[in-house]
Amino acid sequence: MPRGESSDGARRMINIVALSKTFGSGATAFTALTDINITIRENEFFTLLGPSGCGKTTLLRSIAGFVDPSSGSLTIHGDDILSKPPYARPVNTVFQNYALFPHMTVAENIGFGLEMLDRPKSEIRSVVGEMLELVQMTEMADRMTSQISGGQQQRVALARALAPKPEVLLLDEPLSALDFKLRKEMQIELKRLQSETGITFVFVTHDQEEALTMSDRIAVMNKGRILQVGGPKDIYDHPAERFVADFIGDTNFVTAEIQSLEGDTALVRLPSGRQIAARSAPDGAVSGPVTIAVRPEHATLEAQGALLDGLLKNIVYFGTDTHYHVMTQDGSTFVIRRQNQPDAAEDHKVGEQVGISFNPGVAQVLRD
């Protein structure tokens, strides 16, 4: 699979260039989006991931038309949509609170978009039937929306947004109101719907696990900026910035110094004096002191004299795996995760001197 920017194989669909949004003015002005540049491809499951207040919902609402960006451009298939009101944009939204019409039945809710498009009654009936089947709600067609459960409301909201067959479906944290088990089910369900309908999904979430399991590509956002765009594996294995590495999964940060750089491989010197090859971030530092990130499961516990040495401070048993907390020479804690084998005896003791090792290339040089 090609990574990074769009190759010729996938068609570009949504093009966002230099988009910014500032709310208010003067002393109370708040910049929600700063210089956003993204290309979303056709039939892609694209996720905007970030903590609350990072601007991901503002970006989604800019696409839907409920937020008016201060500057920049936003095109779908080359059409400028910023000048269009929400009802003239070829996108539909699944709202966080579902926003089902309480005075209409399930079937009327699902048919609403087609009715607004003045489609013939017979077509509306058949599409609504299809949609009810797609989300397995056929029996509930004549219920009022207040008479169905949260998970069912979620399905109706999805069906309502899918019924007009939009070019893009926008989903604003649609799973956050569901309990854990239902959320897992709906994650799989959403993935299925996306591949069955072939519609481009733009999905907003603050849940890194949800983003990793569902997305084709993820844009990690913080403080109104996009920090990194890439596939789940790309983002997880090769975070470009400290925030990305920290927000997605657990990470060890180690200070190091770049010795030499060739392509995207940097030779770094660790505090112990040992050297190892690491992956450098695009537009990252080319020399001098840097921070490298190493995932806990990518490191192993060794005898002293490895890449890094330290004191084993703590062993935490988690069932599927065990975490070893090692205090390195510079006083920071390095966590190593090891998968447990059945009936394997614990061969390390708290308080002993140990070494830490990892393979060339697993360490990632961070941009900041």
Partner: protein
């Protein structure tokens, strides 16, 4: 062990007495008014036995009939106009971003609640007199226009409250699903807004039905609504017929207020 209690006004000495005084003051005159509407005698103060005669006499009184018809026409027209204007005003003040002078607009919509009624009445009297001189028209429209104007804030309040309580994302969802602003209003906003609109209309109706001061100043010669007719009667012979008419007006008001209460309660999900 009793826990130290928070301050509770109901436990202060004399609370029951003050409360009782207030209720007596509020309701005893009304109760007496209703009781004496059934008096068999001519007096509004000396009880002579039960009778429906004053209701019958009021019912058969042509002047009362005319005044009732006029009152109902004015109240109906005024509540319709005031409610329509109030819906638009409420939409404008809740569904747009805050604009310069939005507080001023809010104040101006509610102006009739703050300006002394007698001032409005005198102003209307002078203004209508000028219009009458200019046009020669002396019909009902003066009263309908005047009533519509002072009923607007009463209709506006419940409608605005309802709009503010409504989930904005419903209207956004409708717009997102290709609903043009007018269709969104008709298909989504209005069905949700109905209880507020009905409440506003009923409130406006009652307010119009009750009005004396502005009506007295704005009406043309020979026009009488129920309240102005009653005021005129009080200057002559006072019979329990006035009590009977008052009681009917009271019953209508109470019925509308109760309906308003039930409506606002039942639709809150």
């Amino acid at each position: 062990m009793t826990k130290p209690r928070a301050f509770d006004v109901r436990r202060q000495s004399g609370f029951a007495f003050v409360a009782l005084c207030c209720f007596v003051l509020l309701y005893l005159p009304i109760i007496l008014l209703v009781v004496f509407s059934f008096n068999a005698g001519q007096s509004i103060a000396i009880w002579e036995g039960f009778s429906w005669r004053w209701y019958v006499s009021a019912w058969q009184n042509e002047k009362v009939q005319d005044a009732t018809v006029l009152s109902l026409i004015i109240a109906t027209c005024a509540s319709l106009v005031a409610t329509s204007v109030a819906v638009m005003a409420a939409l404008a003040t809740t569904r747009t971003g805050t604009f310069r002078g939005s507080a001023l607009v809010f104040g101006m919509i509610n102006q009739p609640l703050m300006i002394p009624e007698i001032v409005t009445a005198v102003a209307l009297l002078i203004f209508f007199a000028m219009v009458k001189v200019a046009t020669g028209y002396t019909g009902l429209w003066y009263l309908i226009i005047a009533h519509s104007a002072f009923c607007i804030p009463f209709a506006y309040m419940p409608i605005r409250a309802r709009l503010q309580g409504m989930d904005l994302s419903l209207e956004q969802a409708a717009a997102d699903l290709y609903g043009t602003p007018w269709r969104v209003f008709r298909m989504v906003t209005l069905p949700q807004l109905w209880p507020g609109v009905l409440a506003g209309a009923m409130l406006a109706f009652v307010i119009s039905l009750d009005n004396v001061i502005i009506t007295e100043f704005a009406k043309s010669a020979g026009q009488d609504t129920l309240p102005t007719y009653m005021l005129g009667q009080l200057r002559r012979v006072v019979t329990p017929e006035i009590n009977a008419i008052s009681t009917v007006l009271l019953a209508i008001s109470v019925a509308l207020v109760v309906a308003f209460y039930l409506l606002s309660k039942s639709k809150k999900q």
